[in-house]
């Protein structure tokens, strides 16, 4: 499979993603500068984490108007697989490819630590190698990951099973204590209605090698590779 990893000014997790896709998973992957347009031949586009445009105005708000985004939006609308991680998730929200918006963490602090997550939907392109209800561990590192949507949007997300990952206790319970940033309904990751666009705040690329402290994130990429091959 061929992955494109989009690089905006201020993106910083692009090399982590390239490392995992190429070295750990043996896939073809190349960085895509945000000025590129007319992308062709990719099986998946990844918007990695970082601080695109210094988080000016709102997180992801300026990157959303980078030249490459027109192509990303068209690619997603044609059904192409897109993953937005952390800042990438924020950009997908600003671009309207996923519903909702991000607010400052309710603690107002930047949170960088491992969290436990419950897999709420194991039937998406990106989660098929997890078990439904399985609790996994991945790191988060963000100041604005407090997911918000109005009540109608939340009802739609729940009704259409678009919530893929939720912050949960190690036993899989949804508690306020285990919700690090105050996200609505403990939401950590969602897909669009069609199921081809995923946004998540945790960093699967930082949990893909045992030597780096965890491997639970690798199955997310493996799920996609497996889903697209079969």
């Amino acid at each position: 499979m061929k992955f494109g990893v989009i690089v905006f000014p201020g993106t910083k997790c692009d090399h982590d993603c390239l490392q995992v896709l190429r070295e750990v998973l043996g896939q073809e992957a190349r960085p895509v500068w945000h000025k590129e347009t007319g992308l062709a031949g990719f099986d998946c586009l990844v918007l990695p984490g970082g601080f695109s445009y210094g988080d000016y105005l709102r997180t992801g708000a300026i990157a959303r108007f980078s030249p490459v985004m027109e192509t990303v939006i068209q690619y997603a609308e044609r059904g192409g697989a897109v993953i937005g991680i952390c800042n990438g998730f924020q950009i997908l929200l600003e671009a309207g490819l996923l519903p909702g918006a991000m607010l400052r963490n309710r603690t107002l602090s930047f949170i960088c630590r491992d969290v436990t997550l419950r897999v709420d939907n194991a039937q998406t392109l990106f989660s098929s190698l997890y078990r439904a209800g399985e609790v996994i561990r991945m790191p988060i590192a963000h100041g604005e990951g407090n997911y918000y949507a109005d009540s109608e949007t939340l009802a739609r997300l729940l009704g259409r099973r678009q919530i893929v990952l939720r912050y949960a206790s190690p036993e899989g319970e949804l508690t306020e204590r285990d919700n690090p940033n105050g996200s609505l309904a403990s939401i950590a990751g969602i897909v669009n209605e069609r199921g081809n666009v995923l946004g998540l705040m945790p960093h699967p690329e930082r949990a893909s090698e045992a030597a780096l402290g965890g491997e639970d994130g690798r199955r997310l990429f493996e799920s996609l590779i497996h889903s697209l091959k079969t």
Binding site: A61, L93, L103, R104, T107, L108, Y148, A149, G182
Partner: protein, 80 residues
């Protein structure tokens, strides 16, 4: 033409920064603060043009970029 655009979180959206500022103001001894909401404003210098048309253009830009309508309200003020 000089426009000022005010952007703030919708009333229905919790404003954690405003809440923290309110707590700090209370710590400083200011009593009876019921709520604090934090926002931002943009000063825009625009080339002269038809005010109605300029207003429509600016309104559309507010919705696309200056504010995120999912969580924020905005208000345009013309400064003379």
């Amino acid at each position: 033409m000089h426009a000022r655009v005010f952007v703030s979180l919708k009333r229905s959206v919790l404003d954690p920064q405003g809440k923290a500022v309110r707590g700090a103001l209370e710590t400083l001894g200011l009593k009876g603060i019921e709520d604090v909401r934090q926002g931002k404003f943009f000063d825009l210098e625009l080339a002269d043009g038809d005010p109605a048309e300029r207003g429509r253009e600016l309104d559309s830009l507010c919705q696309k970029l200056l504010a995120n309508p999912v969580i924020e309200d905005y208000r345009i003020e013309w400064v003379t």
